[in-house]
């Protein structure tokens, strides 16, 4: 699949960026992290790095051109001679190429989230004279994390490092208001809906057969953990899920290795593989969660179907993995016996 190379926003009040020079030529093989072009703003000249590995293709803007922020200036494709058509929604285009997930009913579609504040996903920006690592005091980093501020924006603005608590002030005002800010990785969403019929039948059968009711949450936890393990091929590893419930988060370790009726929170401090949100008891039927910490799987309920939505970032799951995860999960909802096999 082809990745867009976008003119980044390097300053707060920047509308366009001047391409000083291309550091790679069309057709060149490049690795993620390579500097591919030099961009000049009113303040500084910076090198823009490739986010993906591949071949530089479809270069649309020449050196010397002033390009509006957010515009696609080139693509990085998997092969040297690939021609990217249109290019308005490469994610959607790529998603169509994926093998159709599972059999019958579950229809999963991948769509790119609305291009959030910034087009930053495809580029990482560093001031020309510092390394990739952004230097900030431990307290500044902690506060930035807690307040959801992106310290990388200070670097993009050319504020000299290292950053201290006082520097965060510049971000507090700017974020949310900014129209052309450079933010962290973009969040993508995959949605799917599954008819409730078969799962309801499974629950009914279980109830009459075992005289016990299975909680929806246990089903989500068991099925999702199992689906995640299948996708990541993490047979030997622990899979930890943070479940949003009772106003907080509970940790469930390897929920797929327990009987559905015995699934219970664990004392685990393991880093979560994903967050699970059960919205079936609410009126919410559509959600586009953020995936700031880890992928987030939300399950809502419409009249006749369960609406599943996965939010993820490219550094958490690849598009393929995300699609497979949703496909595996919805396949289990659609045919609960799959889980037992």
């Amino acid at each position: 699949m082809a990745h867009e190379v976008i003119m980044p926003a390097l300053g707060m009040a920047q509308d366009t960026g001047l391409i000083v020079s291309w550091l790679k030529n069309e057709g060149d093989k490049i690795s993620a992290g390579d500097a591919i072009m030099e961009v000049e703003t009113d303040k500084a000249t910076m090198e823009v790095e490739a986010e993906a590995s591949g071949f530089l293709t479809n270069v649309r803007a020449k050196a010397g051109e002033d390009v509006p922020v957010g515009d696609v200036v080139a693509y990085i494709s998997e092969s040297a001679d690939e021609v990217v058509e249109g290019g308005e929604k490469p994610k959607a285009a790529a998603a169509k190429d994926e093998p159709a997930p599972a059999e019958e009913a579950p229809k999963a579609q991948a769509e790119p989230a609305k291009p959030e504040p910034a087009p930053a996903k495809e580029v990482s920006v560093t001031p020309a004279n510092t390394g990739d690592k952004i230097l900030a005091s431990p307290k500044a980093k902690k506060l930035a994390f807690e307040e959801g501020l992106d310290i990388a924006q200070l670097a993009a603005k050319g504020v000299p490092q290292p950053y201290h608590v006082k520097d965060l002030e510049q971000l507090r005002g700017a974020q949310g208001v900014g129209t052309s800010t450079v933010s962290g990785p973009q969040t993508f969403h995959i949605g799917a809906s599954v008819p409730r019929k078969k799962l309801d039948a499974f629950k009914d059968w279980f109830k009459t057969d075992h005289q016990t009711k299975i909680e929806n949450r246990s089903i989500w936890l068991g099925f999702a953990t199992s689906a995640f393990r299948a996708v990541l091929e993490a047979t030997e590893k622990d899979v930890c899920v943070l479940s949003s419930e009772a106003g907080g988060y509970l940790s469930y370790l390897n929920a797929d290795r327990r009987k559905l009726v015995e699934i219970a929170p664990s004392e685990s401090n393991a880093a979560p593989n994903f967050i699970l949100r059960d919205l079936t008891e609410t009126a919410i039927d559509m959600v586009q969660a953020s995936a700031a910490v880890c992928p987030t799987l939300s399950i809502a309920r419409s009249k006749k179907a369960f609406v599943v939505s996965l939010a993820y970032q490219s550094d958490q799951l690849s598009d393929d993995q995300a699609l497979q995860f949703v496909a595996e999960f919805t396949a289990r909802l659609n045919e609960p016996l799959r889980h037992l096999l």
Partner: protein
């Protein structure tokens, strides 16, 4: 409240305790007739007689060993070591014997002795009579280390040291013997392991030991003129160390400088800075700074000697860098 010198405060503490407990005796070089070169113990031999205030030959290892034995067998000796620099002579008696006897005897023996000695440069006494060697003994488990920063502290800490069942080394700054401070007439003790917050502030924590507490207070005055509120803390004892007070302060201020007159390398400043780093890391907005004595033998030249020790000006300079975020690359 009356004001007395640090000398007088130590003298009072020892005299009061000797009146209270006949098991206490004191020995050292020139302690009886001369009352020590700093005249700290003047008058004690007149009150307590030559059997409880003993002049010894120039034989530190010998009388230190005697004191350890006396302490193990029921006495409560105070050993006077004329200069802190002589501590090298008593290392085996202090660190191998006194510090470990309680442990090695399975708790059957205790060594309730006090080694009182001194530290501090800028007295023009040259390299072998000017060192601040408290870090050497603070390193040895089994020894407690007190560092009074004023006459008031000296009296209260000395009385606690004498009553402690463990060997205690108490370092007085020899430049402070004539410094006066308010000291109440009534008896008081200062517990070990309880730091003293001398001045509250929200911008930076200045941690000083012994006479460096004054240096920190002077630095805080200068910083206050620039609108910076420094918190000044005296740990009082470095073993045991009141970590909680230091950590809580740094959590509030996000910055700290540790000031001590021992050599900077491998010293008290590094130890305290390290603990703050371990336990308050995510509250720090600047690296914790150390200010110790220069890593050189203390020069005899007054001009050179003066620049080897931390001064209020240097504390202020480092504090401003920390607050402005200019401590990058160890600047």
């Amino acid at each position: 409240m009356r004001e007395i010198t640090l000398s007088k405060a130590v003298n009072e503490a020892i005299a009061e305790e000797m009146r209270r407990d006949p098991a206490i005796f004191l020995m050292g070089e020139d302690v009886a007739e001369a009352g020590t070169p700093f005249k700290v113990l003047s008058g004690l031999v007149e009150e307590f007689g030559p059997n409880r205030i003993l002049d010894t030959p120039i034989s530190e290892p010998g009388f230190m060993g005697m004191a350890v034995g006396a302490a193990m067998t029921g006495s409560r000796p105070i050993v006077d070591l004329m200069f802190g620099d002589f501590i090298f002579l008593v290392m085996d008696q202090l660190c191998n014997q006194a510090a470990k006897t309680h442990y090695m005897s399975g708790g059957k023996l205790s060594v309730p002795l006090v080694l009182r000695t001194n530290l501090g440069a800028t007295r023009r006494s040259a390299a072998q009579h000017s060192q601040s060697l408290h870090a050497l003994v603070a390193h040895i488990p089994g020894l407690r280390v007190a560092m009074p920063s004023s006459a008031y502290e000296a009296k209260g800490l000395m009385k606690t040291a004498i009553r402690d069942e463990n060997p205690v080394v108490i370092f007085e700054d020899k430049l402070m013997y004539n410094d006066k401070a308010p000291v109440p007439d009534e008896e008081y003790l200062i517990p070990f392991g309880e730091a003293n917050i001398l001045r509250e502030g929200r911008d930076i924590t200045l941690i000083g030991t012994s006479s460096m507490v004054q240096v920190c207070e002077q630095a805080a005055e200068i910083l206050a003129e620039q609108g910076i509120e420094a918190e000044v803390i005296d740990p009082r004892t470095i073993v045991p160390l009141d970590e909680d007070t230091l950590i809580n302060s740094v959590k509030k201020t996000s910055r700290a400088i540790v000031v001590d007159e021992g050599h900077q390398s491998f010293g008290i400043t590094g130890e305290i800075a390290s603990r703050l780093n371990e336990k308050a890391f995510y509250h720090l907005d600047a690296p914790v700074q150390r200010l110790g004595a220069m890593d050189v033998p203390v020069p005899f030249s007054p001009a050179l000697e003066d620049i080897t020790v931390p001064t209020p000006e240097r504390v202020v300079e480092q504090a401003l860098k920390a607050i402005k975020g200019e401590l990058f690359h160890g600047a």
